[in-house]
């Protein structure tokens, strides 16, 4: 059974029908990419999973338990952590305080300390800058911090929303390398991206989203070879 199953969810913003019946699943240890253009519903999908929005129809099952009616803070406690779009770190808190906030729902101090070491190993830059205010970090460092903060919740599923947004190509590459590394340590990752090329190169499977519907899915390599995808998202004729 899949770790996270999304069944036919419909999400609305008042009367705007943003998600029109989306279904997909994540298996343990997978990286699944969700690609699509602006306004396709990628971020809405993530927010619906993490409980910031609630679906009007459909169900979301996490490890056998329905979670679509739960509030956001309970979903975090169950083990789903989100790295929000545009990084959204707490810019007036220090790096350490940001990481602390990531572990807000946890009470196991020793394990938190362990995770802190692990995160610092993954992102040595953050260790150097741990007493600096989040807002003074560079864009790439802020993205690292956002990912590190989510990891501090010790999640079982990591929802990544546009990690490449606004970063220089060289930084995008290093962020995606880290994502692969995290995945190799056993993390299940749902990756939302506009940068389809990058996303498809690290993901195992992929879903293509278009105006609130899934129009195509399959192993990442196959999706990548699909002529429509090549034309629409990879910029090839």
């Amino acid at each position: 059974m899949a770790l996270l199953e999304v069944h036919n969810i419909h999400t609305y913003y008042d009367h705007i029908h943003a998600l029109k019946g989306i279904s997909f699943e994540l298996d343990r240890g997978e990286i699944v990419a969700l690609i699509g253009a602006n306004g396709a519903g990628k971020t809405t999908t993530l927010n619906t999973i993490s409980g910031i929005r609630h679906p009007r129809e459909g169900s979301i099952i996490f490890d056998g338990q329905p979670i679509h009616h739960l509030p956001a803070h309970e979903i975090v406690q169950l083990g789903i952590a989100q790295v929000p779009e545009g990084r959204k770190i707490f810019s007036r808190l220090t790096v350490m305080e940001n990481l602390d906030m990531g572990a807000f729902t946890r009470r196991d101090r020793a394990a938190i300390q362990e995770d802190l070491e692990r995160v610092f190993k993954l992102f040595p830059r953050l260790k150097e800058r741990r007493n600096q205010l989040g807002g003074t970090l560079s864009g790439g460092e802020q993205q690292m911090l956002a990912i590190a903060r989510a990891l501090m919740a010790r999640p079982r599923v990591l929802l990544l929303d546009e990690p490449s947004m606004g970063l220089a190509p060289i930084l995008v590459e290093s962020i995606f390398q880290t994502i692969t590394e995290i995945s190799q340590q056993g993390m299940t990752i749902l990756l939302v991206e506009q940068n389809a090329n990058m996303a498809l190169s690290v993901a195992h499977r992929a879903y293509v989203l278009e105006t609130g519907r899934i129009v195509l899915y399959g192993p990442a390599a196959e999706v990548r070879e699909n002529p429509q995808v090549r034309a629409a998202y990879l910029g090839e004729a």
Binding site: P71, A72, H73, V76, F90, R92, F104, L133, A153
Partner: protein, 519 residues
């Protein structure tokens, strides 16, 4: 360069000076100095103002120059002084000769009495008087220019030597005695101890009037610390904070007064009830406004504050609340059979309340709750994504803040033996918010200092009578321009103002000096 800034500054300073004279501020200065320092006449204050305005013109003119040289500074100071002096002199000449001709200027300008103009002419004829004030302004402007130039040079030299600019706080820390005290926890404690002892014996020496006023400051400290939780820590802008103060006060009043309910409960019982009811009111207000933020929240809370006040004075509820006439004979605290309801005992009682509020705030600040509030203040959506149950923490902030307001309200009503709708006007909410901002949001010593400045200073300005509020308002405006972070900002805020050696792009030294112009 110097000429241009000099002319510009001279013009501005002349307009400001003439305006201040026309509304009679020079006489106010004279009277204030007279009463504060027991100066026998009012002219020292009057001329102190003139000299200061002249120095201000010269100093600003130099501060705005781009090219730094003594020649330029002299030129700037002189041109500012000459223009300011000539214009102000001309204005004085006009005013003095009109008055001499027997016209009473007060018909148009309320403050332009004979004495008011006489304080500036010093009894001379209009022409020599104009010359004199012009000369004084010129000399003052030159002095101001020289002082500023020297100060800027000292700063520039320091920067050239690679030393960074230091704040007043760090200046103070350079003095060995002070740095030792602030670094050594023991001597710090001794200092706090000495301060506490001073506070404890103060009421014996201060007399009724100042005991009462210090008590009022204390009540506002409690209110400020409470609002600081809501606004400073949780970032929820609450403009109806007075409502909880009112709930505390009315609970105390209605439960202990003989009218209108005949309950006449003991003060000690009514106090915790008042605190709890205020906290409950905080939660009740909190529930409907949970989803609001920023401006919307401010407007709704503002409305809530007014609703409580209007309810308290409505005719329909007169039988329950005492209506517009309020509640009289509110109960006093009685300890060992002794009525301790005068300002002397209340001083201690309020002091205990303040200490309690400080302890609560400090504990909250460093707790899990405090961290959740900080994160919520930064970004509510992301806090949710971090697993913070924002609704719960918002309600907690409202409840905690309201409980402290309830505490101070209950004490307030009992101390005055009276409470009524007029005690809970919007201005109280605004005053409390202002003291939090003036003191430094999020900072406990800041709130205390802010309460002293906002509630204590107006008492010291009593001499000014009607002008009190005007002068006070002007002081607030100046203060927010010169020190927007508050008088004693939280250390967190200081962290946010990058020091030159930490900033990645170090600005040019000249511009750094420019950054300090406000002082």
């Amino acid at each position: 360069m110097g000429l241009r800034t000099g002319i510009r500054m001279g013009l501005i300073a002349a307009i400001v000076t003439i305006f201040l004279i026309l509304i009679g501020v020079h006489m106010l200065m004279g009277r204030l100095l007279q009463s504060w320092f027991r100066v026998p006449a009012h002219w020292p204050g009057v001329w102190l103002m003139v000299v200061l305005l002249g120095m201000w013109a010269g100093s600003r003119a130099v501060g705005q120059m781009k090219a730094r040289s003594w020649g330029n500074a002299l030129l700037a100071g002189a041109s500012a002084g000459i223009i300011q002096g000539a214009l102000v002199g001309a204005a004085l000449y006009l005013l003095a000769s009109i008055t001499q001709a027997g016209v009473d200027l007060r018909t148009w300008l309320n403050q332009m009495s004979k004495e008011s103009i006489g304080a500036l002419t010093l009894g001379f004829a209009p022409l020599p008087a104009a010359g004199f004030i012009g000369g004084v302004l010129l000399v003052s402007a030159l002095a101001g220019a020289a002082w500023r130039e020297r100060r800027l040079r000292v700063r520039a030299a320091r920067l050239a030597r690679g030393e960074r600019m230091i704040s007043l706080r760090e200046h103070l820390l350079e003095i060995p005695a002070i740095s030792q005290v602030s670094n050594n926890p023991l001597s710090r404690r001794v200092l706090i101890g000495v301060f506490m002892v001073l506070l404890l014996i103060a009421p014996f020496f201060l007399g009724q009037y100042w005991n009462y006023n210090l008590g009022t400051v204390g009540i506002y400290v409690i209110l400020g610390l409470g609002l600081n939780i809501v606004v400073g820590m949780a970032g929820l802008l609450d403009l109806g904070y007075v409502a909880f103060f009112a709930v505390g006060a009315y609970t105390m009043a209605l439960l202990t007064a003989p009218q209108p309910h005949h309950i006449q409960m003991s003060f000690w019982l009514a106090l915790p009830i008042g605190i709890v009811l205020a906290a409950v009111a905080g939660i009740l207000l909190g529930i409907p406004v949970l989803r609001m933020r920023g401006d919307y929240l401010a407007i709704v809370t503002l409305g809530f504050g007014e609703i409580i006040r209007i309810l308290s004075k409505s005719d329909v509820l007169t039988g329950f609340t005492g209506g517009p006439r309020g509640v009289r004979n509110v109960g006093h605290p009685v300890l060992f059979g002794k009525d301790i309801g005068n300002e002397f005992y209340f001083f201690y009682f309020i002091l205990i309340g303040v200490i309690l509020a400080i302890i609560i705030t400090r504990r909250l600040e460093h707790s899990r709750v405090g961290r959740a509030w900080r994160a919520m203040r930064e970004d509510e959506k992301v806090s949710q994504a971090m697993g913070i149950y924002t609704l719960k923490y918002k309600l907690m902030a409202f409840a905690m803040g309201a409980a402290l307001a309830g505490l101070s309200g209950a004490i307030f009503a009992s101390r005055n033996s009276f409470t009524g709708p007029e005690d809970f006007v919007l201005l109280v909410s605004i005053n409390v918010l202002a003291l939090v901002i003036v003191g430094g949001m999020g900072s406990i010593p800041g709130v205390i200092l802010g309460a002293f400045v906002l509630k204590g200073l107006p008492e010291m300005l009593r001499e000014l009578e009607d002008y009190r509020v005007l002068v006070f308002g002007a002081l607030l405006v100046v203060m927010m321009i010169v020190r927007p972070q508050g008088l004693w900002p939280a250390s967190r805020v200081q962290l946010e103002r990058p020091r030159p050696e930490l900033a990645e792009e170090v600005e040019a030294p000249a511009e750094l000096a420019e950054g300090e112009v406000g002082s």
